[in-house]
């Protein structure tokens, strides 16, 4: 990655004309000339998809006892995976929605795959609450359906709120994403040579023709959706955090959770954005469209979010002590010196320690290093969620009931399986849809007057 030392931090480098932009972005999809390592990577992910399927079948046919949970720690990796994926989902919406509202020009070239990332992450997240159930086949009992056994959801339960939040979030993200895609689909429709491609993109494009009248309404609605997505994105992870804060279990029962979960979500989200963007821009040599500026900004947002998370850790510990609750205190001490202590300290060193490197400009612009840090943060954030899930119940009110859970192969099979599936989806997306928003990049080029 040559431009490690470069100092020009434009949103877009070099001069482009529209055919060149559409051409380069469109050809990835239409010509399908993809580097070999793309396919190698996809194949690896596919193996993980198979692992995922096997694990799920095993889990459902044998029972949830097959993975690490037990008494007293009846929640385990399914929940932490869920929270982790939801968190990753957040950066996408944030980039596309919030930065749109804030009129941040640099979002243009990364929002598309950020949104895609959101969708796939939410899709993964959506699976876990169901896999978590003892009787997954009855998951629909969380819905208010007319039935002969007078069954209603128990609306006071945060799990029902979750259900609503996740469903809404997934749907809105999808709509938002699809709206953004419409003009680009039109472009692909027109570029497509083969009949099949024409029909495929043509049908998806809904006959978009870029009329000024359409654009007028389009702008408004796109903006409104962004305005809706912003409070939504905050509410979703707050509600996820309510799953914990609503409980009286020590270590769950903390008012700091909602903001601190949202910050954590952003941290892991941007970490994932970088984890994808850095290889992507290199593999398809679009460094001039996804520039160092993007990477740099993302890194800065990470450290901002990361510091809020760090503050969250501190205040969690502080209030455990300040509350004077013996149970809270004992739990916090146990977290630091108990059976889960190694994980706890590893988490701190990753999410608070490693993060600090991002203060340095030279590290922020060193892509391999930045990539490594992003991955480290992803790991750290998963551990954080797991710590939160298990340490509370493993050290709650009655010492006689104290105990730890030990993970089985199934926990990891499902975690890595889901990661593989996620990336497989990302690859497919890159293959069949424009990973960079053509029309916005063109608009950007227009505004920046970078036309040849």
């Amino acid at each position: 990655m040559a431009e490690a030392g470069a100092n020009s931090l434009d949103v877009m480098r070099g001069r482009h004309d529209f055919p060149e932009i559409t051409g380069r972005i469109g050809s990835i999809v239409l010509k399908g000339r993809l580097p070999r390592h793309f396919w190698t990577a996809f194949f690896l992910c596919f193996l993980l998809v198979l692992l995922f399927l096997y694990s799920i079948i095993y889990l459902i046919s044998v029972g949830v006892g097959a993975y690490g949970i037990n008494m007293p720690v009846v929640w385990g990796t399914m929940i932490s995976n869920f929270v982790w994926w939801i968190g990753i989902g957040h950066a996408g919406t944030l980039i596309s929605a919030v930065l749109l509202l804030l009129r941040q020009p640099w979002r243009a070239s990364i929002n598309r795959f950020a949104e895609a990332m959101t969708l796939f992450a939410v899709a993964m997240a959506g699976l876990f609450p169901i896999l978590h159930l003892g009787r997954p086949w009855f998951f629909y009992w969380l819905l208010p359906l007319p039935n002969v056994h007078m069954h209603w959801p128990q609306w006071r339960s945060p799990l029902v709120w979750d259900f609503a939040a996740i469903a809404t979030y997934a749907t809105v993200s999808l709509l938002f994403w699809y709206m953004g895609l419409l003009p680009d689909l039109a472009v692909l429709r027109d570029r497509a040579r083969s009949r099949a491609a024409q029909l495929f993109y043509g049908i998806l494009a809904l006959g978009w023709r870029g009329s000024a009248y359409h654009w007028a309404r389009y702008r408004i609605v796109y903006f409104l959706l962004a305005a809706l997505a912003t409070p939504l994105v905050v509410s979703v992870h707050s509600i996820v955090s309510l799953d914990f804060t609503f409980a009286i279990t020590p270590g769950y029962h903390s008012t700091i959770f909602p903001p601190y979960f949202v910050a954590g979500a952003l941290l892991s989200g941007f970490a994932m954005v970088l984890t994808i963007a850095i290889p992507l821009r290199w593999a398809f040599s679009v460094e001039d469209l996804i520039t160092l500026r993007h990477m740099d900004n993302a890194a800065k947002l990470m450290i901002a979010a990361g510091m809020v998370v760090a503050y969250g850790y501190v205040s969690e510990a502080f209030f455990a002590w300040y509350s004077g609750e013996p149970y809270e205190r004992a739990m916090m001490v146990q977290r630091a010196i108990g059976p889960y202590a190694p994980l706890f300290w590893l988490m701190l060193s990753l999410n608070c320690g490693v993060l600090q490197l991002l203060w340095f400009k030279r590290i922020r612009r060193n892509m391999p290093l930045l990539f490594a840090i992003a991955v480290a943060i992803n790991i750290g954030m998963w551990i954080e969620r797991y710590i939160i899930v298990v340490t509370g119940p493993s050290r709650d009110y009655l010492p006689s009931a104290w105990g730890e859970q030990s993970l089985t192969w199934l926990d990891f099979g499902i975690l890595f399986g889901s990661i593989g599936t996620f990336f497989a989806l990302v690859f497919l997306f890159i293959r069949i849809l424009p990973a960079i928003t053509i029309f916005e990049v063109e608009e950007l080029a227009e505004e920046e007057g970078k036309l040849r």
Binding site: V62, G63, N70, W75, Q154, S157, L398, Q405
Partner: protein, 991 residues
């Protein structure tokens, strides 16, 4: 989901079908794993039980096997069962029987040969639940864990179900032929070369039959083999009074009790009665109440020591010295210098005993040597307690025999004996290590074994005959105090088992006998009405043995301390509290029931003290080699606070491989180390091994972490401040954000008296039996998947080496502001009009949020398919299921329901009779089993209710009340009565 749903008269056929399929079954337990391999089996399981089929390896893992017993059984029997729901009426319906209504019978269960009265609940001819018989002196309405499991053993698919000749299935007719031959031979030779090996029994009929045999065959030898026998008792009374006598204690009169290594709360045929009286003397509700005081000196931690006000742990070999010292002190001589306990302690004790005078009571462990027992008796005599708190009666199990199994082996060795009939005993597993029973028995011309299981002895036997379970038998039996009672069958023998009396009759030449007639004719004295009454009441009126007046010789009958305290390790042998000598090793309920103090399940360990562990650098689970006179066993070590130093406790009952359940459990066989019938050995050696072994315990943390969980105080402290439970405990909020719900009809509530609870685990076992609670096997227990709705927490307080032990039964608290309910997304756990925290299994989808949010962690989750709720496929052990309780499927949360099925039954009864439910009408399973009556249950809205009186006691408090969950279950703080002049154990610390 329920095994046999309430509204179907099916079970009638159940038994029929059962008997049919079992007749065809062959000896199942051996074929289990083989079967499990076969393709046919796979097909069956895949069809009936996908969950397992999926997980079924070529060689099925142990837990699967445990669960598959039923499946493979039904394979043997009803492989071709259909989904179509068919219902069957009776062909001839018994008058007394109305389908859907349980019937209760009085009978007597045997515990180590002695009788404990029981009331057995029977549904359409299926015995499903054992309760205590209030009229029986040894039960007084209480039961213990082992009795609860009687119904489980009855339906155990592993039971031997056909006669075996040289291991091959044979007909009972063939057996009779061979017996006829034997009988004629004996008749000719007056029983020359013949021997009978019986186990401990108190059955008058059996005794009479044996005497008859003796008359018939003068040369026939009778031997008795009871691995848990305590012969010293008889020896002592012979030496002292010239005739065999056995002591009976009156705890209702005892004010000051000294236990010399006696576990009278946990061991012995009279334990339930003793526990009741003991607890009654210690029930304090008001500062003016009095309570007895218990000093305990014990050589291994027991629940008696845990209940003691002062407890001393001493090496087994030092007990004699203590006894000698005590006697000296009582007679006023100078204290024995060798006494291992300090003088202050001894003087305080002696003063207390003297003060109590004839109301004092000194008990010696029945397993103790002659000297200790003699010393105890003489101490009682000196205090004038003999005849008041201690009475001596002729031993109910008296039987004139020619010796024990050792003598038998010797006789076989001399060639004096060539044919042996073993009645029930299992010498090849339980015989002392010294003698080579296997060699002796395999040299016999004829070995006949009669027993419930095809056990180690049966393998060697030429003939094995299945025994009838005690719930299938006609017999009679005597209780610890000599009371005679009858044993009547609840069900026709499932596997054509024979009663002991039938076998004895066969040996007497009567080949076709009616089991009832055999017993009835012995009771010819009773006319039919008296007989019926005896059956109905469960006892033969005033048949208790009369105390024999004795005079104490001054010189202890010449007995003196035998063994002197040697250096080196002492070994203390104990029977496993549930499995006894291993006879119940195949009862999964008992295997999985945590041992009172160690909380160990599915195995045993070598118990040692922290100090000893420190000295030998042993940690929990490290395998140690215990060597004593030549032999040695390897066992994982387990460190127990309050265990005497330089001593190791080994328990019998484990290490058996016969029986699919028994084979699952780990643990060592302590019989391998036991020479003769001793209960302790000295001069042993411990050498730690490199490896460590798995010891499964259900409680991993022993301290209360300074939390006010078990709130306890001494009697003085209680008198100073009756509301001590409030002292430096977090305040309980009174107000709540939410308006209180009205509970204007019933409001069920429970009170648990922690002073009374001795941690005997009877309640847990009863709960399991009543509520169809699954057993999950060792692997799952290790992972923390056990299912007991009610657990008894055990905490240690105070110094590590001499801690105070505190028990706390923890069922569901039925919080009025239940945290679990608010978080359930599907309304699967909600409140009822009478304030129950109801759990609706069929609505639960298993988010487990409720358990996550339960501060008491009393909810249990079906992590895997632990038991089948499919009637067609579940096998005979479903016969034990309570038809009024759903059998829960995989992925469903469950918990204590306050025995809602009992509440419903009583309410329906009351509603039909148009009246309110009376106080004390609804009795929960745990409450009914509890020998100390620590648990009270009732309607909080009735001012006169017993539970209201209990809850109004000053020491009443709710667990974690500061959380404002408003529990319906509350506790009465533990009050102990230590001697003010001595250090009060754990008084200052914890809680």
């Amino acid at each position: 989901m329920s095994a046999i749903a309430d509204d179907r008269p099916g079970p009638a056929i159940d038994i029929e079908a059962l008997r049919k399929r079992l007749a065809r079954g062959g000896e199942i337990w051996r074929s289990l794993d083989e079967i499990a391999g076969t393709a046919e089996f796979r097909r069956f399981v895949e069809a009936e039980f996908p969950a397992i089929a999926e997980r079924l390896p070529a060689k099925p893992n142990r837990r699967t096997l445990l669960k598959l017993m039923g499946a493979s059984l039904s394979l043997a029997g009803l492989a071709a069962c259909s989904r179509a729901e068919s219902i069957v009426p009776y062909v001839r319906q018994p008058e007394i029987l109305i389908p859907g209504k349980p019937i209760y019978y009085a009978t007597t269960l045997s515990s180590d040969g002695f009788g404990i009265g029981a009331i057995v609940e029977s549904h359409e001819g299926r015995p499903t639940k054992v309760e205590g018989n209030p009229d029986h002196p040894a039960s007084r309405g209480a039961t213990d864990a082992v009795m609860q499991a009687a119904v489980l053993t009855l339906f155990d698919p592993d039971r031997s179900r056909t006669p075996l000749k040289d291991g091959e299935p044979a007909s009972y007719g063939d057996f009779l032929k061979d017996m006829a031959a034997l009988v004629s031979r004996w008749a000719a030779s007056q029983g020359q070369g013949g021997a009978l090996l019986v186990e401990a029994t108190t059955s008058p009929t059996a005794a009479a039959q044996i005497d008859a045999l003796r008359v018939r065959y003068p040369k026939l030898k009778i031997y008795r083999h009871d691995p848990l026998a305590t012969p010293a008792t008889e020896a002592v009374s012979r030496a002292l009074f010239g005739s065999p006598l056995t002591p009976v204690y009156r705890f209702d009169r005892a004010e000051m009790i000294l236990s010399l290594d006696a576990d009278f709360l946990g061991e012995g045929p009279g334990r339930l009665a003793y526990v009741r009286d003991f607890a009654a003397r210690r029930r304090v509700r008001d500062p003016s109440d009095r309570m007895s005081r218990l000093y305990a000196m014990e050589s291994t931690p027991t629940i008696t020591g845990a209940a003691a006000d002062h407890r001393l742990a001493i090496k087994p070999s030092e007990v004699e010295a203590v006894a000698a010292g005590l006697n000296a002190a009582l007679t006023g001589e100078a204290g024995d210098s060798r006494s291992p306990i300090d003088q202050v302690w001894m003087t305080a004790l002696v003063d207390d005993l003297r003060a109590a005078g004839r109301n004092a009571l000194v008990i010696s462990g029945a397993h103790q040597g002659a000297f200790v027992q003699a010393a105890a008796l003489s101490a009682n005599a000196k205090l004038g307690a003999l005849g008041n708190t201690v009475g001596l009666i002729e031993p109910p199990d008296a039987l004139q025999v020619d010796g024990d199994v050792a003598a038998l082996c010797e006789a076989i060795g001399d060639g004096g004996i060539d044919s042996v009939v073993v009645l029930g005993a299992n010498p090849l597993h339980t015989a002392p290590a010294g003698l080579d029973a296997h060699k002796a028995f395999s040299s016999l011309k004829l070995l006949v074994h009669y027993g419930l299981y095809r056990d180690e002895t049966a393998f060697l036997a030429h003939w094995h005959v299945p025994a009838a379970h005690e719930l299938e038998s006609w017999s009679d039996i005597r209780a610890y105090d000599g009371t005679r009672s009858l044993v009547q069958p609840l069900i026709k023998p499932l596997y054509d088992g024979k009663t002991t009396h039938e076998l004895l009759a066969v040996l007497g030449g009567q080949f076709q006998t009616d089991p009832l007639a055999l017993v009835r004719q012995h009771w010819a004295a009773l006319d039919d009405d008296a007989w019926k009454k005896a059956l109905r009441d469960g006892i033969v009126p005033d048949s208790a043995a009369k105390p024999v007046p004795v005079t104490m010789p001054s010189n202890l009958g010449g007995l003196s301390p035998a063994a002197n305290a040697t250096d080196g390790i002492d070994i203390r042998f104990v029977p496993d509290p549930w499995l006894r000598d291993g006879r119940f090793a195949n009862a999964s309920w008992l295997q999985e029931l945590p041992r009172p103090l160690t909380k160990i399940v599915w195995g045993n360990a070598a118990l040692i003290s922290p100090a000893t562990a420190e000295r030998l650098k042993i940690e929990n689970g490290r395998v140690i080699n215990v060597a004593s006179n030549g032999t040695s066993v390897d066992a994982p070590a387990w460190i127990v606070s309050g265990h005497p130093d330089e001593t190791v406790t080994l328990s019998f009952g484990f290490g058996r491989k016969a029986g699919s359940v028994a084979a699952l459990s780990e643990g060592h066989d302590a019989f391998l180390l036991r020479s003769a019938a001793e209960w302790m050995a000295t001069g042993a050696a411990i050498t730690p091994r490199e490896n460590s072994a798995r010891v499964i315990s259900t409680q991993h943390h022993q301290a209360m972490e300074g939390r006010a969980i078990v709130r306890h105080a001494s009697l003085e402290a209680f008198r100073r401040d009756p509301r001590f439970v409030r002292k430096d405990a977090p305040p309980s909020p009174k107000e709540s954000l939410y308006p209180d719900w009205p509970y204007d009809r019933e409001a069920w509530a429970m009170a648990i008296d922690l002073s009374a609870c001795i941690g005997c685990m009877a309640c847990v076992s009863a709960c399991q039996a009543e509520n169809n609670i699954a057993t999950v096997g060792p692997e799952e227990c290790e992972r923390g998947h056990e299912m007991h709705w009610l657990r008894v927490d055990r905490y240690y307080a105070g110094p590590l080496d001499a801690p105070e032990t505190l028990f706390q039964p923890v069922p569901c608290m039925h919080c009025e502001k239940a945290p679990c309910e608010v978080v359930c997304p599907v309304n699967a756990t909600v409140h009822t009009h009478d304030g129950l925290n109801a759990q609706v299994y069929n609505r639960c989808i298993g988010t487990r949020y409720c358990s996550q949010n339960c501060p008491y962690k009393v909810r249990r989750f079906n992590f895997l398919e632990h038991q089948s709720f499919d009637k067609d496929e579940a096998g005979p052990e479903q016969g034990v299921h309570n038809p009024n309780v759903s059998v829960r499927s995989r992925g469903v949360m469950e918990k204590c329901t306050y025995c809602v099925q009992r509440i419903s039954a009583k309410r329906i009864q009351a509603q039909i009779e148009n009246r309110d439910i009376a106080d004390g009408e609804v009795v929960t399973a745990c409450q009914q089993a509890c020998p100390t009556q620590a648990i009270t249950f009732g309607d909080r809205n009735r001012k006169d209710a017993k539970v209201v009186r209990e809850k109004s006691a000053p020491q009443n408090y709710a667990l974690l009340e500061e959380l404002n969950t408003r529990p319906r279950t509350s506790y009465l703080g533990k009050i102990s009565n230590p001697n003010g002049r001595l250090a009060k154990p754990g008084e200052a610390t914890d809680g």
